[in-house]
């Protein structure tokens, strides 16, 4: 990099290092929309969320059933691998711990899948222990389709590509299966605090 564009500053961003901002990230005030394809359109009376794979009996909830589950509102910082971070974002949804309650499995891994074909993989450890939610509200409002509505996964301790938009279920597995981005250069785990962006990081 040799050339500097005189006077160019780019979008307002803070490079102030702070204990809340992982290495290489900058804080933004807007909420960028990233998308790998067309926004899926789904009718809520056909929507279901399921858990299947290495368990005795798959579980499935309809929209009504899902909303009857105990939900909570959490405030979290989120970090996108494209280097923006957004602090204090508020989400309402069902904890993945709640969804996995009563499920007996020896699986250590999971693939999360969405409408439109997107997948991401996670260790079960990263989905449990009060670390992950299936969220249907952002900032007190029903989740907008461009941000993953009706429902998205929220796993704020990992890079935000793991927080799959338009999520429809979790498949429990014995072996890790790299998802959409993990199979194409992005790190299998994606911990922003260890700057695990790409293969080999």
């Amino acid at each position: 990099m040799g050339f500097i564009s005189r006077g160019f500053k780019g979008k307002r961003r803070d490079n102030v290092s702070s204990s809340r901002v992982p290495p290489g990230q900058h804080v933004v005030n807007d909420f960028p929309v990233l998308s790998a394809g067309p926004t899926p359109r789904v009718s809520l009376d056909q929507w279901t969320f399921s858990i299947a794979g290495e368990i005795d009996e798959p579980k499935r909830w309809t929209w009504q059933e899902f909303h009857a589950l105990p939900a909570e509102t959490v405030t979290k910082d989120i970090h996108c691998v494209t280097k923006w971070s957004k602090l204090d974002t508020s989400w309402t949804g069902v904890s993945v711990d709640t969804l996995l309650e009563g499920i007996d499995t020896a699986a250590d891994f999971a693939t999360v899948f969405s409408d439109g074909g997107y997948t991401t993989n996670l260790a079960l450890d990263d989905l449990t222990g009060n670390k992950a939610w299936v969220a249907y509200e952002y900032d007190g409002q029903p989740l907008h389709p461009e941000h993953g509505g009706p429902v998205r996964l929220l796993v704020p301790h990992l890079y935000f590509w793991k927080s799959a938009k338009w999520v429809r279920g979790i498949t429990l597995q014995n072996e890790e299966q790299p998802g959409f981005w993990e199979s194409n250069g992005y790190h299998i785990r994606g911990d922003p605090w260890r700057e695990q962006r790409y293969w080999g990081d």
Binding site: P32, V33, L34, S35, A36, G37, P38, T39, C80, V81, T82, G117, E146, W161, F180, W181, S183, N184, G185, Y186, R197, Y198, W199
Partner: protein, 90 residues
């Protein structure tokens, strides 16, 4: 921003593809591995606002290509294209 506004076409990645293939690629013809549709790269659907570039068939929306640019390297998945045809440079 709605889905239509997030989507552009292969003209937008002309520069990126020239970095990778070292040739002008927007006139290259892609054959979709899912539906068989043939389209010049200039006409396929491209999603740029993502952790990588996702190129989709304008007919069936299946992924044709994924391109990720990391520090000093690219990862490219071309499995969504059965075939890519382009003119040899003189």
């Amino acid at each position: 921003m709605d889905a239509a506004e997030a989507k552009v076409d292969g003209n937008a990645i002309g520069g990126l593809l020239r970095e990778i293939f070292v040739m002008e690629m927007t006139t290259a013809e892609t054959t979709c591995a899912s539906c068989g549709a043939v389209n010049p790269v200039g006409r396929v659907d491209v999603y740029l606002r993502a952790p990588g570039v996702v190129v989709r068939c304008p007919g069936c929306e299946q992924v044709l290509m994924r391109i990720v640019r990391g520090p000093g390297r690219y990862w490219i998945d071309l499995r969504g294209m059965r075939c890519l045809e382009f003119a040899a440079s003189e």
